[in-house]
Amino acid sequence: MSLKIGIREMGDITILDVSGRITLGEGAVCLRDTCNDLFAKDCRNLLLNLREVRYIDSAGLCEVCSSLIRASRAGGSGKLLHVAKRVGDLLAITKLSAVFQAFDDETVAVRSFHERLRYSHCPVCAGRCSPPAFEADPWEPQTCTSCASRLILSAGGSGETAPVARLDVRSYETEYWEVRPGPPFVVNAVGRLNMFSSRALENCWKAIPAPRRVLFDLSRVEEVTPPGVTAIGRLLGTRALNDNAVVSLEGLSAPAAQNFRDIVGAYGARADALNALGDVSGAPPWSARIEIYHDRLADRKI
């Protein structure tokens, strides 16, 4: 048997402890049959605990989605618990993470059936971040399910927005560029500055609200290639008139700093760069959009 399902009840919530493989054929059928039985018994709120699921293929994923959607259409709700990284990645790349709620903590998951949750949205790509927070609770560190940017949110905000304390934008799989709000905004480039990581440069720039006052701090850059320098030069050269940005080369090795000799706006000392930035008082507040969760599954056609 490729799949085993244990069933627990917690109030009006049915928790399915699934273990094994959810794959085309027997695994998917077993899950479907179990859910059919539960729906026939009027179970409405379904929490699929996938902690012991070792493998899930596209057909299995389809079956999981179908079960959750049917729970919602039956007037209840369907959610996921303990989604393994591989399954989480699968949900992320198929954007299903934007539709289904997934939790790492059973208590929180159970609570979410009865209390309103809120989600933050990524300042880079507008994708939904996780984990969600209950309205009364503070924000934990957030990760965008779409572009993997990491977000620290502060308390406060309007209810529809929350102040951003820090944003980490991914350049390589394990390298992130840090953005801290200003004035001025400071972008700490970390790791490599090359053609590939220059996408992070563009993404950081997009995430900062206009009119921008930005200091690019390259003190933590370990490697610079000419296309990386070109990318930063292009950004400085093509910015809008009401934006301003400078580069601090302080901390960068002399040979690496040599690459920037033709870049207007690049300064050897951080203080010089800040001086060149001029008046930074006009920088706008930086906030992320907040969404109160609405179960969008109920009207989905299966």
């Binding site: 048997m1 794959t23 085309l24 493998y55 989605c65 539709v99 390589y172 799989e173 969008r296």
Partner: protein
């Protein structure tokens, strides 16, 4: 007469840690019930405690209840499986499985049955607790104390057991329930169906007569063959030789003198189709064994019938020699599909003689034969004595000086010699001083009138080159629209010495002349016109088999896709299915290609509908056969999960490219395309969800669409946008992932865009380490309607240097489950870093090897595709020159 099958009860005994293996037994039994067992009037019925016992009470406890349900003493086969657990103690034994084994062993000692087949998983295992160590120790103890009358077998995981068990059960059924015996005892089941003798058989024998007439010498080859026969119980004698060295003549000589089974493969004359080769060999075997009956249709059925007849013939008369000539004449797509050359199923007493030019076909066969006795004989040039003998045999008037001159000029090439002999025979004014430097010189002389405006010769050569069967002068004249006399005098006459005439019909005598015609005489558009003429002729004048056999092929080769779609309609396909059986699959293949080339996503539905309509007509197996027939890279028959496919990759300066595919099912749902573009490479890799016919059609469509679009733009982001626009909203394409890459070695640049596909891996030779490149993007068609997609795909640009590697994969590789806490994707960067210095091919092969060897608790359920692109070619990492 009672037609009900005899039931063989198969008991499965094992502890609980080999659940996946237990699940395999009914699957294999089901397969055998449709093949080997069915042929013998048998039916395997699998009995397991979990499906056949029921709750209750018994004085012997739960095991007593299970014993009653299993009735081991009354069973026919007991399959025991152990890995790391021995099981829970029961009264009288350390575990239920041991108890069941003891019951079976005692019954076998008393009554000779059940057949006890014990398997031990010897995959490395590290106990994590005292209890686990105890359990494992008990298994090893049991293995050590196994009764001396018995033999157990080891295996390495479910996939390995699946293959072993299938083979062992087949062997057991064949041995215990033979179909027919020499003593004439009645078989347990009706004999397998056999084909009637075909016309091909007669044509082949005439070709053999013609070819063996010109045979001389080769005493070394003949004695090597005799020695091989005398010193081995069975095996392969491979004849390797350059074009024109006389491989076919040698093969024909062996057939002529030994009366051996044979098939002479040839592209012209339609003798290169796998199905036809099997049918021809089966017909000869049937004749040998005095059988008659109808031939099966599908390649797996034909293969099975062939192997069974071969075994039977070997049992009756040893040795049995099968001669297969010209493997190099097989289509490139059939390189891995040679079911008429059995390796694992080669019975004792059977010898295969296979001839070929050096090349892929022969190399692959040699690789397959690593554990099978075989000998490679290199057919060199003829010696001076052999040349003299040949000239004497043909009464060619040649003195010693001329013989020496001929020997020097021809370099002992028999084909060249035959051309000289023909000149000596037919041209009294032939001046030996004018001998051309090679055989092509004779070809050029024979076709010299083309330069003087002999259009008829050009037309005849075009039609003979395009035709799949020999054609008479009348047919040639009808096809090219010229009077018969003109056709014979101006078209056939000048090249008659290079044509093979059988029953008044002509085809090329030797593939070397065919290659000369295609390479030096005809332009591609002329060849297409020839196909067009034949297609038109088939539509108008020929209502027989050739029209059904080849109309679709000629239309396809003429690039008349619209004509093919119009003319090869469901009625045509159904008629062909009825009259020619599974030969219809070629038409389905060509029709499908034309439809997919249209680039209209709706064709997927039509393709599936056509195959489904044929399935209704022919039965379910046609789906599998369609799959084997039309996929772009083929697996060998029955090569499921056992053989890696490595499709050819384009040659691009400063790039080395490797592609490897391990399909889960007959039809891969993974796809890739490699498009060379002026020193750059446009590549795509993708994955259609699930497996099966629909997924495979979707995968092919995506690959075809990419190839079409890549001709207009190579920018990966734009390509994905265009693909998204083409298929957006189509249900079939939900969940398809894809990644497009442009590699420009001259600029030192890679552009990548992704539609939700697993990250590519970049190995930097300078840094000596890998990075997973996080290039993300929406699915081309979202998995759920609630999800919007932007249709925009951001490109990532990467600098590359000499020695760098880019590895593209599908999730079948990265997400394959491994040991707890580890997926193959996590191992991948380390693997690449270890082997990158050796280039793309070695790295790709190492990845595939490691993937196959990775210990895993269950079999995988997805296709695996890997593309490795090395910048600067193999060994590039050692060079330091910047790009």
């Amino acid at each position: 007469m009672d037609d009900r099958p005899r039931i063989l009860r198969v008991i499965v005994a094992s502890p609980g840690d080999v659940e996946a293996e237990r699940e395999l037994v009914p699957v294999i039994a089901d397969e055998l019930n449709r093949s080997v067992a069915a042929d013998r009037g048998l039916r395997l019925e699998v009995v397991r405690w979990e499906t056949d016992s029921f709750p209750g009470f018994d004085p012997g406890g739960p095991q007593g209840l299970i014993d009653k349900a299993l009735n081991i003493a009354g069973s026919d086969i007991l399959i025991g499986i152990f890995w790391k657990r021995f099981g829970t103690p029961v009264p009288g034994a350390q575990s239920g499985t041991e108890h069941e084994f003891r019951l079976a062993y005692d019954a076998w000692k008393r009554q000779g049955r059940p057949q006890v087949m014990m398997y031990f998983n010897d995959r490395p295992y590290k106990p994590k607790s005292k209890e686990e160590a105890y359990q494992w120790g008990a298994v090893l103890e049991f293995q050590k104390e196994f009764p001396k009358e018995g033999m157990w077998w080891s295996y390495k995981g479910p996939a390995s057991l699946e293959r072993l068990l299938r083979r062992h059960l087949e062997n057991y059924l064949r041995a215990a329930f033979p179909l027919a015996t020499e003593s004439g005892k009645p078989a347990a089941a009706p004999e397998p169906p056999l084909p009637a003798a075909s016309d091909y058989f007669a044509v082949q024998s005439r070709i053999i007569d013609a070819q063996s007439r010109m045979f001389v010498g080769r005493a070394d080859a003949l004695s090597a063959f005799d020695r091989f026969l005398a010193s081995h119980a069975g095996g392969y004698f491979l004849v390797k030789g350059a074009p024109g060295q006389g491989k076919t003549a040698l093969a024909c000589r062996l057939v002529k003198t030994g009366g051996h089974l044979h098939h002479l493969i040839a592209r012209t004359g339609g003798r290169s189709d796998t199905r036809l080769i099997l049918r021809s060999l089966i017909a000869q075997l049937a004749f040998l064994l005095g059988r008659s009956g109808a031939a099966p249709e599908s390649i797996p059925e034909l293969t099975k019938a062939y192997e069974e007849l071969l075994a039977e013939a070997a049992a009756r008369r040893q040795p049995v020699v099968v001669v297969i000539d010209a493997l190099d004449e097989l289509p490139a797509g059939a390189i891995d599909e040679l079911p008429f050359l059995p390796v694992d199923a080669l019975p004792d007493g059977v010898f295969l003689v296979a001839s070929s030019r050096p090349g892929d076909h022969l190399s692959r066969l040699e690789q397959r034969l690593f554990a099978t006795p075989h000998c490679v004989f290199e057919l060199g040039p003829l010696g001076i004595d052999e040349i003299r003998e040949l000239l004497a045999q043909t009464n060619a008037d040649a003195g010693p000086m001329l013989v020496d001159r001929i020997a020097t000029t021809s370099q002992g090439n028999p084909l060249f010699l035959l051309a000289i002999i023909e000149e000596l025979r037919t041209n009294p004014r032939f001046d030996a001083r004018e001998l051309p430097a090679s055989i092509e010189g004779f070809f050029q002389r024979a076709t010299a009138s083309l330069g003087a405006g002999n259009a008829v010769l050009g037309d005849v050569l075009g039609v003979l080159s395009a035709s799949r069967r020999a054609l008479s002068a009348g047919e040639l004249s009808a096809i090219i629209g010229r009077p018969q006399r003109e056709t014979a005098d101006q078209g056939i006459g000048p090249v008659k010495q290079f044509l093979l005439e059988t029953d008044g019909r002509y085809t090329f005598y030797h593939s070397r002349f065919h290659e000369f015609v295609n390479g030096s005489v005809l332009y591609q558009d002329e060849l297409r016109h020839a196909h067009q003429w034949i297609a038109a002729w088939l539509e108008k004048e020929v209502a027989g088999d050739y029209r059904l056999d080849s109309l679709a092929w000629h239309l396809y080769e003429a690039r008349d896709c619209e004509g093919l779609i119009r003319k090869i309609d469901p009625a045509f396909l159904t008629e062909k299915l009825r009259r020619s059986g599974y030969a219809v699959l070629e038409d389905v293949d060509l029709w499908t290609r034309c439809m997919l080339d249209r680039g209209d996503p709706d064709v997927i539905e039509r393709c599936i509908a056509v195959v489904e309509s044929l399935r209704r007509e022919a039965g379910g197996d046609i789906i599998k056969a369609v799959a084997n027939g039309w996929q772009p890279y083929r697996s060998a028959a029955g090569a499921f999960r056992s053989r890696l496919m490595e499709p050819p990759t384009p040659a691009i300066p400063r790039l080395e490219i490797y592609a490897g595919v391990l399909p889960k099912a007959e039809m891969p749902a993974d796809f890739f395309e490699l498009v060379p573009l002026e020193g750059r490479l446009a590549a795509a890799i993708g994955d259609a969800p699930a497996i099966g016919l629909k997924s495979s059609f979707v995968a092919r469509f995506m690959a075809g669409l990419y190839r079409t679009l890549a001709a207009r733009s190579v920018h990966p982001g734009e390509l994905l946008q265009a693909m998204h626009r083409s298929i957006d909203g189509r249900e079939y394409f939900r969940g398809v992932t894809m990644q497009c890459v442009e590699v420009d070695p001259a600029q030192g640049l890679v552009r990548i865009a992704s539609a939700a596909h697993p990250f590519p891996v970049h190995y930097s030779a300078r840094r000596r380490r890998c990075d997973n490149l996080p290039v993300t993007g929406d699915l081309l068609v979202p998995a759920d309607r609630a999800i919007g997609v932007s249709g925009e795909y951001q490109e990532g640009c990467l600098e590359i240097e000499e020695g760098d590697l880019l590895v593209l994969v599908t999730d079948g590789l990265t997400e394959a489950p491994g040991p707890p806490g580890e997926s193959f994707g996590q191992r991948l960067p380390g693997l690449i870093e270890r082997h990158a210095h050796a280039g793309a091919r070695v790295t790709g092969e190492k990845i595939m090897d490691a993937w196959k060897e990775q210990p895993r608790e269950e079999d995988v359920v997805d296709d695996v595709t890997v593309i490795v692109i090395s910048i600067g070619g193999p060994g590039g990492a050692r060079r330091t020159t910047p790009l």
